[in-house]
Amino acid sequence: MLAIKSGKTVSALEESYLQMVWRRFKRHRLALISLIFLIFISLLSLAAPLITQYSYDQSDPEHSMEAPSKLHWLGTDRIGRDLYSRLIWGSRISLSVGLVAAAVSVIVGTLIGAAAGYFGGVVDDILMRFTEMVMSFPVIFLLLTIIAIIDRSVVNVMLVIGLTSWPGLARLVRGQFLALREMDYVEAARALGAKNSRIVFRHMLLNCMAPIIVNATLRVGGAILAESSLSFLGLGITDPPSWGTILNSGRHYMRFAPWITIAPGVMIFLTVLAFNYVGDGLRDALDPHLKR
């Protein structure tokens, strides 16, 4: 029916695919709630200057470690900084580190996996051995080591987390490519004289987008956790503080001011959980073989 509106055949088809995905996604209650939660958190972080009364580093020693009150919704920390403001500003850091690190990881992992699976042979051997090398290091500690050595900036933290977390995806994409390589339509494209890059990007990559998208979503949660672990161990982002850094700052005052530790932990937990549920929902929604 849509196809009749001339000239829009292809986009109409694509739209109906997305509509189908959305329809299936909505059926996963927790995934839908999680998505709404993530949108809400993102809006809060964007609106940070509008919805916070204090700045994230404005200290007030007179009101140090005060319990949550009307004046300070989530209480104050050791030097009297407003925790609510710090959390909202911190969400900018934690979310953007999660998103950018995941993007880096997905791009590197996809390219390496695709190249290994498509070319096979020596290229595959070299790339897979390299993948195994990176995969073997104790992740959190390798992150700590590199961050301790290089300049501890937001960009570096994003890059290091991204560049150490791609091996899983690379192996997944490689496996998909090994299977896709034997498909008739790839053979057909090759017979028609398509270039390698066109076959890889237009034909094969599009056909394994589903697992890549799911993996990317889960990866965001993983990156947020990785950053918070770094911060917790004392090598995180401090200005503005990430959630992990705020959490770490309350660690030694738990007896007197547990709220400094509780609130950022809840934020990390809920956000990571939400990304995982969205990933789970996407897995069900994107898989055309799964009939529900």
Binding site: R129, E132, F137, S229, M254, R255
Partner: protein, 323 residues
Amino acid sequence: MGKYLIRRLLQMIIVLIGISIISFAIMQLAPGDPIDLLSDRNATPAEKAHIRSLYGLDKPLPVQYYNWISQVLKGNFGNSYVTGKPVLAMIMERLPATLMLNFWAMVIIYALAIPIGMVSALRQYSWFDHIVTSVAFLGKALPQFWFALMLIYTVGLRVDYIQISGMSTYGVNWASASFWQVLSDRLSYMILPLIVLAFSGMAGITRYMRASMLDVVHQDYIRTARAKGLSEKKIVTNHALRNALLPIVTLIGFELPILFSGSVVIETIFSWPGVGLLAVNSIFQRDYMVVMAFNMLGAVMTVLGMFMADLLYLVVDPRIKLE
């Protein structure tokens, strides 16, 4: 099979060489001149140059790598910049604490995760299965360090018996106290770290066991067993469970690095005097010899563990034939 083993062994050696090169390269990136750490603050340039040549730091990088790796192969990871002691000895000193904690954590994880995963699969989509699946999901998103801190806050600071820092009370040892006193003392320190490690480790194993069991119960031989009238109990224990456990056995290979390098985060929170805490402290003291030894040993353990997992798979599952 022999051909496969040789190929796999060669691959492993290549990966190990690569790991050593990456380790060496990261160490070179470290800021500051190790000479400043090694020599007296008032050392003259001539003295510094002498120390430099003493440690072979004036040679070109490939030569330094060669010298370093040939020592490493002999088990010599160099001396700590801070304590001056051999790095390997420092690590070995801390190893028993890490081994003990992670061994018991592993025992608890498998003892709980295998039956839970099994029941979850046998009663797929029951309320039990739903709860297990949800808790596993929560476990994956729960930051380990935060969970540990919340346990310290809710239990550790309120219950007198439970200790939150260290691994034993000074003076309470096998020589001076009775068996039960020592046991109770050690347990009071271990209980919280064990809960955290077990909870975060269980999510994965339970899911794995559930998937493995689900896979098995849909096989033909289970249908045959059922068709010939075996009791459900016999089918589960004699046929399903034994086959479902095969992939679990291979996981032991992946536990190797966890056993030995432990958890950096958990050891830091509970001041558990293991290898992980040593490694973190070394980072803050810029003791890069220890840091790199830890990174490299961790990676080597992982590679050996993966190799072990592959071998175990061949041994326990005769269906797998390799050309």
